[in-house]
């Protein structure tokens, strides 16, 4: 195929979507056939609202009134808004904590449960259980109970085990978790870690796709388990690790439900959104506050587009860096 493709490629104009070579054209047409559902769905359901939100970001708009075009005013407002910068900082910190930890825990657990442990199926199911309820309103409420500094079970256990009069008297006092601005983001990261069952599931199915012959060959060559893990397992599932890294990053920048429920709800740091001291003012929470509580829809849309650009750049960066680290069974041109 490739031998035929080389001479014809020169005739293809840079911007044409259908190449000139016969085999290439056939393959490209099949490509468009396979992705046609997505293209149709995008044009019908997604494109309109996206364009609308891009336009709204350039306007002053409250529901019920008609939008007034204000140019880049919203973006300028945000640049001078200290809470906006704080929300960006909180979210970036959260992302840096939650995403790598989630990948490491999920991967370790998947490898662990891929060993021949007794009751393997039962273990897998039980580990997956928490992620079924993670991210829900109920879980957010549950964690704000667990992490309550005075009445929460976690600090109670810490006191029993390592507190001043505890089992092992180390004099450690549990932090004030969701009420201490320094501990707020780690507390949220803990909550998100609890849902690592989903990434475990993805890794487990990836591990099952690794050909067994590779391990057999490596064993014969005398490679130990640790070596096999880093030389076979990791490279073979690296496309899937890249997937969890990018989607995890996107998800962590979009975290909303727990932040909203905990900071405004019945739990520990109850109060205005983002309390205490804006330490829980996650990016999308602030976007929500501006859009639906202050009715500044245009400002919220501008926030969304700034977030979009940040995530897009980070995604491109990850794809670009991953070229050196990710192994694909089928090699292709382009860095995505």
């Amino acid at each position: 195929m490739a031998a035929q493709a080389v001479p014809t490629r020169r005739q293809t104009s840079r911007f044409s979507l259908i190449p000139a070579g016969k085999l290439e054209r056939r393959e490209a047409l099949w490509f468009w056939f396979f992705i046609s559902p997505w293209v149709i769905g995008f044009l019908v359901f997604t494109l309109g609202p996206i364009v609308a939100s891009a336009y709204l970001s350039l306007t002053d708009y409250a529901p019920g009134k008609s939008p007034v075009f204000v140019g880049l005013n919203n973006y300028a407002t945000l640049a001078n808004d200290r809470i906006f910068w704080k929300s960006l900082q909180v979210t970036a910190y959260y992302s840096l904590l939650a995403v790598p930890l989630g990948i490491i825990f999920g991967l370790l657990l998947a490898v662990l449960l891929n060993q021949k442990v007794p009751f393997q199926g039962l273990f897998r199911t039980l580990y997956y259980l928490p992620s079924l309820v993670a991210g829900s309103v109920a879980t957010a409420l549950l964690f704000s109970w667990l992490l309550n500094p005075q009445f929460g079970i976690l600090n109670y256990v810490i006191r029993l085990l390592v507190g001043p009069q505890g089992l092992i008297p180390l004099g450690i006092v549990g932090p004030r978790w969701l009420q201490d601005p320094n501990w707020v983001v780690p507390s949220y990261a803990m909550l998100s870690l609890w849902g690592f069952g989903a990434s475990m599931l993805i890794y487990l199915s990836a591990l099952q796709g690794v050909p067994t012959q590779l391990y057999e060959a490596a064993t014969i060559d005398g490679a130990g388990r640790v070596q096999q893990f880093f030389r076979i397992t990791i490279p073979m599932i690296s496309p899937v690790i890249l997937f969890t890294l990018i989607t995890g990053m996107i998800g962590s920048f979009n975290v909303f439900t727990p932040a909203y429920v905990i900071s405004t709800g019945v739990g520990a740091g109850a109060g205005t959104p983002g309390s205490p001291a804006y330490a829980a003012m996650f990016y999308v929470l602030y976007l929500f506050v501006n859009t639906f509580q202050r009715y500044r829809v245009g400002l919220g849309a501008a926030q969304a587009w700034i977030l979009f650009l940040i995530i897009l750049l980070l995604t491109l960066l990850m794809f670009w860096v991953s070229r050196k680290f990710v192994y694909y069974e089928s090699d292709e041109e382009g860095f995505i």
């Binding site: 290439e24 393959e27 056939f33 609202p49 662990l112 039980l126 996107i250 587009w305 995505i336």
Partner: protein, 266 residues
């Protein structure tokens, strides 16, 4: 399932190697014991909040707030479950949730694996930029497109039905397309090349080679899709108005209003 299996050596192995083999076997056993212990310990930590949730579900309103907390409820309030299941038409909600989750699951399994195959294997100009566009649809916070999308679906006349929540999934979801694309790109290409030489077209390859080879991944997709939509709260909250159409997630939320927040019923 068994990636770590070493094929049993034949008895023809030289006697000199037998010592090495038994130590190998012992090493396997040690790994298995350590793995089991680690799995059990981890499970205790992971399931602790769930156990706490269950224990809370059996407490009275007053005991929930007690300190120091009680591990085992003084008298188990199984009645909480009766209340939770009977104050609302729970059976109806359950059927609604099942209908919603199953429809989306089927839609996503078909559409996402179809679209992902195109992106994973077939070459065409502009493919990578198009794929970036797929990913881009994940990057914009949903809150922003919410209002325009709501207006659009109301123009379609789709409000208070599951159509806005199901139909778009027949056109693929970026997250699952991306996931399956990564899986498909990890599959060996030899089978497909052989099939092409045998005169198969790409549709046949997708159906007869790619799908059977990626059953573990499709299983993961099915579980994640079902679970996500079974407990989806935001979507139904926006588009479902009449109580008869409520899914379980919205039904649960009602406990927060007429009773005041009552953590033991969650």
């Amino acid at each position: 399932m068994a990636t770590q299996t070493t094929s049993p050596r034949t008895t023809a192995a030289p006697v000199a190697r037998r010592g090495a083999l038994t130590s190998k076997k012992r090493q396997e056993q040690i790994v298995r014991v350590v793995a089991t212990i680690a799995a059990v310990l981890g499970l205790l930590i992971v399931l602790f909040p769930l156990a706490w949730m269950f224990s809370t579900s059996l407490k009275t309103r007053i005991e929930v707030l007690k300190f120091p907390p009680t591990w085992i409820p003084v008298s188990a309030q199984w009645d909480n479950y009766r209340v939770a299941l009977t104050v609302n038409p729970f059976g109806k909600y359950f059927l609604n949730s099942m209908y919603y989750a199953c429809s989306v699951m089927i839609a996503e399994l078909v559409s996402c694996s179809f679209i992902a195959y195109g992106f994973a294997r077939l070459r065409a100009p502009g493919k990578n930029w198009l794929f970036l566009l797929v990913l881009a649809t994940m990057m914009l916070p949903t809150w922003t497109t919410l209002i325009p999308q709501y207006i659009m679906f109301s123009k379609f006349g789709w409000l208070d039905s599951y159509k806005p929540l199901i139909v778009p999934h027949w056109f693929g979801s970026a997250y699952l397309i991306f996931m399956l694309r990564q899986f498909f790109r990890g599959l060996p290409k030899d089978y497909e090349e052989a099939a092409i030489i045998d005169g198969a077209n790409y549709l046949g390859i997708w159906l007869r080679i790619i799908l059977p080879l990626s059953l573990p991944a499709l299983g993961a997709v099915a579980i994640m899709s079902f679970m996500f939509h079974y407990q989806d709260f935001g979507g139904p909250l926006i588009y479902i108005n009449s109580q008869a159409n409520y899914p379980v997630s919205l039904g649960l939320q009602q406990f927060n209003t007429p009773f005041g927040a009552h953590p033991s019923i969650y």
